[in-house]
Point group: C2
Chain length 667, copies 2
């Protein structure tokens, strides 16, 4: 009988196979990406294919063999669409075109829900393989591990298998429990492709999970991810318990320097917190933690060193030398995660520099400035801001010490983003009357249904940014950042406070924005803007094509208000977008894809780092950026759509009134 011609879609791969060849075998022979865990036993259902429409009738003489009992069993147990066959059961009988649906491809793109996001590539480092292992034989003595390795070699072409002792310790009982049929989790890294046995289940097992961890100085977020399709099964967050050793990074570095064993203390508590979070998300999703085979961590350099047990002292002083900047792959138990699969692997993204960490690397991967045709500025604001500027030609990075003002800290009525916090502000330019929106209520304070008893407790980061920007747009604050008096502004809400003025944003309880608050915001935004300017100088440009705001900050700050403050370089508001949790997205991309790991490592090597402390112009840019929006840049694009009143106030104090033209240079 003549060979049958087979064409696989969407790959287009084609070839001839002997009639009677299973579709799975044909796919493997032709190098078609068709998934399988059970290796052709009709158990896993990963190899589902869509037969050609003409074949749907499944009449005798069709190009595929009729459904088997294994398929009937699978359909009964787990369901099988009417237009689906199991590739391991359906055999080629004649010329046929076979469609491999996305769900049956190991390497595939998964479109993320987030709006602006690129599709996620599935290329996980770990896969599952069901095997029947030879029983021990006294005539031909060999170890359980060697017989397992032999089965994986024979049926899955997995050669030179390695395993950690932790995994070896479970092989004997699992093989016997599964009566010599087991499912093996095989890890193959992107750099060292040696296959590594990381977990073993008795019988058939088909779920694999990964854990993406975003380890921040203040909070830790964990996303439990299904490694079959990259979907998030559960998410959990926790405070970073290192906070009790120091609120910010530098006080933690000090703790490590000053307290013998201080660094080890912080390493222990953060590793324990990670372990707790892993248990939490697994419980939430009702997943056995031992099915978690991969962990990815993104974090800033100090968190990086403290997590890995490396001394962070050098990060507290010039030249801010990292102990290691490259990506780290190792056993998850080495970072304290002991309840996962016995051989679970952990991957920590590379750091870009002593101030620009693995979190920035993850943002870079997710936002891919290196693949952008236009020039994009990516801004990730936390206590430090990390900035990336680039396009397909080159990418620059720096960090800038913004301080915590953007998070509501150091602000008179500041508070964390929690119910009761003012998060949005609008001020009527004619009257100076404010209206606000408070976390926990979807209505504006002047909406008819706004509940009078809505608790209002303070202002969060996005609230103070909008408040100051709205005050500037309403003419209550001048370009230098001074709040005018009631007489100067015609607004009774501008009230004296000491030798300066404050703006009454809310009456009951009374919440004010003081002159000191505005100064704090000016310092923070000057640092951010100056960092961006340094990168633009290094790139040789004075405009960027678009701005991406990453992180929680980006998700909550309105582009218009950020521009009015001059936090970012002048552009049109529609050219400023939010990337959501880009660091978390980058972590999940790396979790699901070996090629993403290779990509982020190559990207980090390509990124050119600018150390702000070393560039003399930083100070100059910082001073010029102090004005709202800027002392020297007219912000023409912004002014084209928003009027910024040209008011000039002066202090009522006894101090010499300075020429406003000097202010930018000296203040």
């Amino acid at each position: 009988m003549a060979d049958a011609r087979v064409v696989f879609l969407p790959s287009g791969r084609r070839g001839q196979v002997a009639p009677g060849t299973s579709v799975l075998a044909a796919a493997r022979a032709l190098g078609v990406d068709l998934d399988s865990v059970c290796g052709g036993r009709g158990i896993c259902g990963r190899c589902q294919i869509a037969p050609p429409a003409a074949d749907m009738t499944r009449t005798p003489g069709s190009a595929l063999s009729p459904p088997t009992t294994a398929e009937a069993r699978y359909a009964e147990r787990r369901g099988l669409g009417p237009d689906r066959r199991l590739g391991c059961q359906a055999c080629v009988q004649g010329d046929v075109v076979i469609d491999v649906p996305p769900g049956s491809q190991v390497h595939r793109q998964v479109v993320r829900k987030e709006a602006a996001a690129r599709p996620m590539e599935m290329d996980p480092a770990t896969r599952l393989c069901l095997v029947d292992v030879a029983e021990p034989d006294m005539h031909d003595p060999s170890g359980d591990f060697e017989r397992l390795a032999k089965a994986l070699e024979d049926h899955w072409q997995i050669n030179y298998l390695q395993a950690d002792l932790e995994v070896l310790r479970e092989i004997q009982s699992t093989l016997r429990q599964g009566q010599w049929r087991v499912t093996a989790a095989i890890h193959q890294g992107h750099r060292d492709p040696t296959p590594r046995l990381t977990a073993l289940w008795p019988g058939f097992h088909d779920r694999l999970y990964g854990l993406a961890i975003d380890l921040g100085s203040t909070t830790i977020a964990a996303h439990l991810t299904d490694l079959a399709d990259g979907s998030v099964c559960a998410a959990a967050g926790a405070m970073n318990p290192q906070i009790r050793f120091g609120e910010d990074l530098m006080s933690r570095v000090s703790h490590a320097m000053m307290t013998p064993g201080g660094a080890a203390q912080m390493t222990a508590v953060v590793q324990a917190a990670l372990a707790d979070l892993a248990r939490d998300v697994a419980r939430q999703a009702d997943v056995d933690p031992r099915a978690i085979v991969e962990v990815v961590v993104v974090c800033n350099p100090v968190m990086h060193h403290l997590l890995l047990g490396l001394d962070p002292t050098e990060l507290g002083q010039a030249p801010f030398a990292l102990a290691i900047c490259g990506a780290i792959e190792g056993a998850a138990r080495e970072i304290g995660l002991r309840d996962l699969a016995p051989g679970a692997r952990a991957y920590v993204l590379p750091c870009i520099a002593g101030h620009v960490g693995a979190d920035a690397a993850a943002v870079a991967l997710a936002e891919a400035p290196d693949r952008s045709d236009d020039l994009v500025l990516v801004v990730d604001v936390g206590t430090n801001a990390e900035l990336l500027l680039g396009n397909a030609l080159r990418v620059l990075a720096c960090s800038s010490p913004t301080g915590p003002a953007f998070e509501g800290a150091q602000i008179t009525a500041g508070q964390r983003a929690a119910p009761g916090a003012i998060e949005r502000v609008r001020i009527d330019p004619a009257t100076g009357t404010p209206r606000v929106r408070v976390i926990g209520c979807d209505l504006w304070s002047d909406d008819p249904g706004f509940p009078a008893d809505t608790p209002v407790t303070g202002i969060c980061g996005s609230g103070i940014i909008e408040a100051v920007a709205e005050m500037r747009m309403a003419g209550l604050v001048d370009a230098s950042g001074l709040i005018g008096s009631a007489a100067q502004t015609g607004c009774v809400r501008c009230v004296p406070e000491g030798r300066t003025h404050a703006y009454v944003l809310h009456d009951s309880p009374r919440i004010v924005v003081t002159q000191a608050d505005i100064r704090a915001i000016q310092l923070a935004k000057s640092a951010l803007h100056a960092g961006a300017r340094l990168l633009m100088d290094a790139f040789g440009v004075d405009r960027v094509d678009r701005v991406v705001l990453a992180g929680a900050f980006g998700a909550h700050v309105s582009p218009l208000h950020a521009l009015v403050l001059g936090m970012i370089p002048d552009t049109l508001p529609e050219r400023v977008t939010s990337a959501g949790n880009a660091a978390g997205t980058g972590a999940r991309m790396v979790l699901c894809s070996r090629s993403a790991r290779a990509q982020v490592e190559a990207l980090v090597r390509r990124i050119h780092k600018i150390e702000t402390a070393l560039v003399p112009r930083f100070q100059e840019h910082f001073v010029a950026a102090n004005a709202l929006p800027h002392a020297t840049d007219p912000f023409a694009a912004l002014r084209g759509i928003v009027p910024l009143p040209e008011v000039r106030f002066h202090r009522d104090s006894g101090r010499r009134r300075r020429d406003p033209r000097d202010r930018a240079a000296t203040e």
Copy 2:
């Protein structure tokens, strides 16, 4: 100026180099094995060469440049022979023949002191490299590890360096302590050649050590070995603390089966004992334990599993399946050795089968039956005997359950080999009068100067073997193993004891050899002999060319007496040699040489295992071997040199006197 022709001896490698090229650089360029730790700084002295005799005058115009100040400094500090130059300092100026002495070769043979032993090949997995590392630079941020890796790449062609977290944790402080000059220990395995940083010292460091551990059921021996030349710097032994959970292997397996956590308990105590021993030998040799970079362990399969934390239960029952039989390489800290170099590596030799362990593999490596032209039987006797039979064509192995009689256990006056134990026995065939030698005294008991107060406390293993063999040769015991009466033997020392007789070996204190003792020795030696016969059957031979006795047993048992007992197949006594501590030798070979690792792994794969329990003829061989020396084999070679009186005794009991011809078949 024309290139100079250079010939290196003893390799004979030759080539042309530009005048002014250092001898070290020329050697590297021509692929000559010339050692160096300092990389050409004149510090380490490893690259010493012998210039040609004509060049000894070091006159101007000679083929090598004149001595440098670095050489003068080195000679003053550490001494430099008059016929030696430092290869990194001496530059080629003209055609020259250069001799590389053995001590300057990384890969070299070291002749061991032990008589029969083969030379030891030096090919250590770890080497030292001195490097100057770039200091951190804010303009070009990179990690300390990356800069170290770069230096190793630039100066030593070491690419893709890896390091465990434990090693990374020390990099920062060591680099700064050494002011950016450090010596790195680089490990490259024989299977995975990825270079791995395992230790780092500030400045110049030139000593590396390895630890060879022979982990027995009863005792543990550790040899601290200098990895420069394979010499033993210190040795220490300890009791295996697992003894408190069971005297022999099977009772330890029982403990693991019956006691929850029992296996983990035994793993913990033996790992702790190894750590103590490591500290002991280091202290003895005044070596920093952190200079120990390699560990090699040999042990039987049960010890192997318990050391690695693998459940030994399966080894207690058919089919005696090992969890893993291949060699294991990993971090030394994984087997509890935490005080050594932070990245110290451990290598555990492969097991041959469930009853034939890594210790037998080490014996096989050291005695190399696979390289023997004649057919050699290698016997390693402990509580179990492991036997290897082979030649260059093939090698067979089995184990045989001899029990502990050969170690003096289960013997009426038996004791461990310790001062006071009778270790040698001679009986005058004419009179039946014994003389003995006792551990702790070099004289025989009938020598003139033998101190009357020499303590005599019992009989050790070699003593009971000689005693029974001498009794057989003196006609006090017949071929069936029966002790004759005084009347039958004409020897008053044969005294009645119950319904049998005993022989008075020593008068004060009275030490006797009983009929039960002889039965115990017969059982043990039958098992040993039957094992050897099975291998000979499988090989298709009924004679072996030579026998090697390994282990402490081999060192103390006289070949003649072993033959008289029929412990081993008939041959001439001069064809029976002792291999000393062959397992320990194998361990040290593997410690010092990667090629020995590859060799032992290949050898173990080649060895064909015979499971004694599965061969029906074992029982038959066992019964025939019960006689002294043997019921069916005439032991013609032995009888050609030693008369074995053809006495026949019968029991004085009321039991039917059996026809002696039946005895061998039924007893």
